[in-house]
């Protein structure tokens, strides 16, 4: 059992394994940028499948249309994560060893060095130890080593922090992968449409589209969103930011927690919430009244721009009309006919815009289909009327609730800092001390050149030998 485990760990931490996994992710990702992502029976993905009948079945079979959310990718990234955990652990052990070696090297006295040297360089006759050290110092400096001399020895020792760059970097990668995974489990991510003045609670029924991770919970969420204003031409910092909504987040009592205009590069952030406003459209404000003109209820029908629709807009869902018994007696679809210019609808709020209201009975038969100006009414069942109060703007808010994001950024910053340590520091030590051997003198050298040393071991030995023994270069 132990030996199987050990072999599995060795395999998972082997360079070939990690290179193969990284290589697979590379090829898979390239394929995923060629194969359109999304449902292969629909839209762009379908058109691609029809145009590439030879490879389409393979792409579909292996799940390339959902390349980054499908099983294949997740399993491979899981393997990479496992391997990175194991490797980070190994890197940590190496770092402990190296930084200990660096600290020991700094403490090593000249006499101990003489005993533990790994190279001996004979000195030319007549050259004494002090002179040899000074020559060696010059030579090492020329090779690019920063040297120090003390206690009759010469040393060039990199900081004990240097070896920690690699393990911290790898652990930070593990952190990123972990938090991305947790994020996908705890996140809620959805779209809410809000007409100006409208308030909607942060609850599943308010969302037009909602993706929730399996660990996401609505317990304790008691806030709501309000669209205070919509500026079709908003300028900030001298730049036209386009149509910009002003959004407020309210607490359970309706107190404003935060309010601001929301546009690209100016998200509304509150705790783990980020609110952006990716789209906008029109809103038909309707009022349901009885025959004596008393208002029974209000609703806003949200309308999206759509160049393919007959009048340039499509309704988002329908407004239900409830009768006295509480049952739905009609469904109303509202659109706003747009002005067309050069065969294109102008996606803007038309002046004095009337709304087109289609009133349907519960059995899907059309009761009326009419253009209704602002302030005018249309009849609905049970002797009620529906008044078009006005037509204005609506903003589609994208609401992301994910507390893992700052942790992901934290790990990214840590990875960058750790990698900077690896890039900008050397991992090496060179120790030199004179050694008296009676008739002849020599220089004892001990060195470890793990990473980014300015010269190789051979270079150092050659240069010192040439300078101190008066011999020619061995290598060249």
């Amino acid at each position: 059992m132990m030996s199987f485990l050990r072999r599995a760990v060795r395999f998972t931490t082997s360079a070939w394994f990690v290179s193969a996994v990284l290589g697979f992710i590379t090829l898979w990702s390239i394929a995923a940028t060629i194969v359109p992502q999304g449902d292969p029976t629909f839209g762009r993905a379908l058109r691609w499948a029809e145009a590439n009948p030879a490879v389409a079945p393979i792409a579909e079979a292996v799940g390339l249309h959902q390349a980054f959310t499908g099983t294949v990718f997740q399993v491979v990234v899981g393997l990479l994560a496992l391997s990175t955990v194991l490797c980070s652990w190994q890197r940590t052990r190496v770092a402990i060893k190296r930084s200990r070696a660096l600290r020991d090297a700094a403490r090593l006295g000249a006499s101990e060095l003489v005993e533990s040297h790994d190279v001996l360089i004979e000195l030319a006759p007549g050259m004494d130890g002090a002179r040899a050290l000074s020559v060696a110092e010059d030579e090492l400096r020329q090779l690019g080593f920063r040297t120090r001399s003390s206690g009759g020895a010469l040393s060039s020792i990199s900081s004990w922090i240097a070896p920690w760059g690699s393990p911290v970097f790898h652990w930070a990668l593990v952190g990123i992968m972990l938090f991305v995974l947790i994020g996908s489990l705890v996140r809620s991510d959805g779209l809410i449409g809000l007409a100006v003045g409208e308030v909607k609670p942060d609850a599943p029924q308010s969302y037009g589209r909602l993706d929730e991770g399996p660990w996401h919970s609505w317990d304790g969420v008691a806030r709501s969103f309000r669209l205070d204003d919509f500026e079709p031409r908003f300028t900030a910092g001298g730049i036209d930011r386009g149509p910009v909504p002003t959004v407020s987040i309210l607490d359970a009592e309706g107190n404003v927690l935060k309010t601001q205009p929301v546009y690209p590069n100016k998200m509304l952030h509150l705790g783990s919430l980020s609110v952006s406003a990716p789209a906008y459209g029109l809103a038909v404000h309707l009022s349901l009244e009885d025959t004596s003109g008393v208002e029974i209820g209000r609703a806003a029908q949200l309308v999206d721009f759509d160049q393919t629709a007959p009048d340039g807009t499509i309704p988002l869902g329908a407004v239900p009309v409830f009768g006295e018994s509480g049952a739905t007696v009609a469904l109303v679809h509202a659109t706003v006919p747009l002005v067309a210019e050069n065969g294109q609808f102008v996606e803007w709020l038309p002046k004095d815009s009337p709304a087109r209201l289609v009133v349907m009975r519960p059995d899907d038969t059309v009761m009326s289909d009419s253009l209704v100006s602002q302030g005018e009414t249309v009849e609905v069942p049970e002797d009620m009327v529906l008044r078009v109060v006005d037509v204005g703007w609506y903003s589609r808010l994208s609401i992301l609730d994910d507390w893992t994001i700052p942790f992901i950024y934290g790990c990214m910053v840590l990875a960058v800092l750790a990698l900077s340590v690896t890039v900008f520091t050397r991992q090496q030590f060179v120790l030199v001390a004179p050694m008296d051997r009676g008739a002849s003198a020599a220089l004892a050298v001990r060195m470890r050149l793990w990473r980014h040393a300015p010269a190789t071991r051979t270079d150092i030995v050659n240069v010192l030998t040439r300078a101190l023994s008066g011999e020619g270069d061995e290598r060249e």
Binding site: A15, I239, P264, R396, M412, L419, D459
Partner: protein, 282 residues
């Protein structure tokens, strides 16, 4: 516009001359000529900086948008890094034969691209733009230098005692050049990583999502992983220098493709930086 274009053409001419000087200097073993080639290259930075500066003042933004500005900035950073590193270590002078042709070709391509003025769009209007693009440029420059060193390494490795070994004799030992390729890849990997991180933070601020597997995001990760594989082959497997050098040579064009090729080939919400229509995540 005219002053800018004249300055740009002057730069192109200077870089072409510098490239020829490097090639002739190395082939005919004229050390003075290669030394002068470095001076000429450095001189080329002056009109290029003037052109960038003039345009910056006129448009109110730096070289961030459109192929012309992009390729110009990438070349500027590559040449500046080459001059800086070579100035500090003159023994690397002859690597100009690998780096200057690439820089000159890139600048030539920039001159063929549209020089239209693209305004800063709302999505781009952020200080993250400066940070993100700066790191993209620096990362590419580091990869381009690693490419140049790898070319020099390969040329010398192919004729150990032959004529090219003599022509490139002033270079540091093969081990050191090999190590330098690795160091520039590592530096580029770090800078590219910072580009990805700042891009993710910016995407969250601009579009509301830190990562959406858009082709540019995916390709920038691909390039990062390609270089990560290089670093593992180097530091874990200790693959022989020549194979690694070939790898570094092959990887650089992929990084270049990622920076300037993607918006041409793929539909991307990042099209804005190339002067196209940018999208939003709905």
């Amino acid at each position: 516009m005219t002053a800018e274009i004249i300055a740009m053409w002057v730069t192109v001419v200077i870089y072409v001359v510098a490239t020829i000087m490097f090639v002739f200097g190395v082939i005919f073993e004229k050390e003075r000529l290669t030394n002068q080639a470095l001076l000429v290259t450095a001189a080329g930075l002056v009109p290029q900086l003037i052109a960038v500066g003039v345009r910056w003042v006129r448009l109110g933004h730096g070289p961030y948008i459109g192929y012309y500005e992009l390729a110009n900035a990438l070349t500027l950073c590559t040449v500046a890094l080459f001059v800086f590193t070579t100035w500090r270590n003159r023994r690397l002078l002859t690597t100009g034969i690998g780096i200057m042709p690439v820089a000159t070709l890139m600048l030539g391509a920039a001159m063929l691209a549209s020089k239209a003025d693209f305004p800063i769009t709302p999505s781009l209007a952020s200080y993250w733009l400066y940070i993100h693009v700066a790191f993209a440029n620096l990362a590419f420059a580091a990869f381009a230098i690693s490419f140049g060193y790898a070319i020099a390494y390969l040329i010398r490795a192919r004729s150990q005692d032959g004529v090219w070994a003599r022509r490139l004799r002033n270079l540091p030992s093969q081990e050191i050049v090999d190590d330098l390729v690795g160091r520039f890849v590592l530096a580029g990997f770090l800078l590219w990583g910072i580009m990805i991180v700042t891009g993710a933070i910016w995407a969250e601020e601009s579009w509301g999502r830190y990562w959406s597997w858009d082709p540019i995001e995916t390709w920038s990760l691909i390039v990062w992983i390609i270089y990560a594989i290089y670093l593992h082959l180097r530091y874990m497997l200790r693959i022989p220098g020549q194979k690694l050098a070939w790898y570094a040579v092959a990887a650089m064009p992929i990084a270049l493709f990622c920076l300037v090729g993607i918006p041409t080939v793929f539909d991307t919400i990042h099209a804005g930086y190339i002067g196209g229509v940018e999208g939003q995540i709905q």
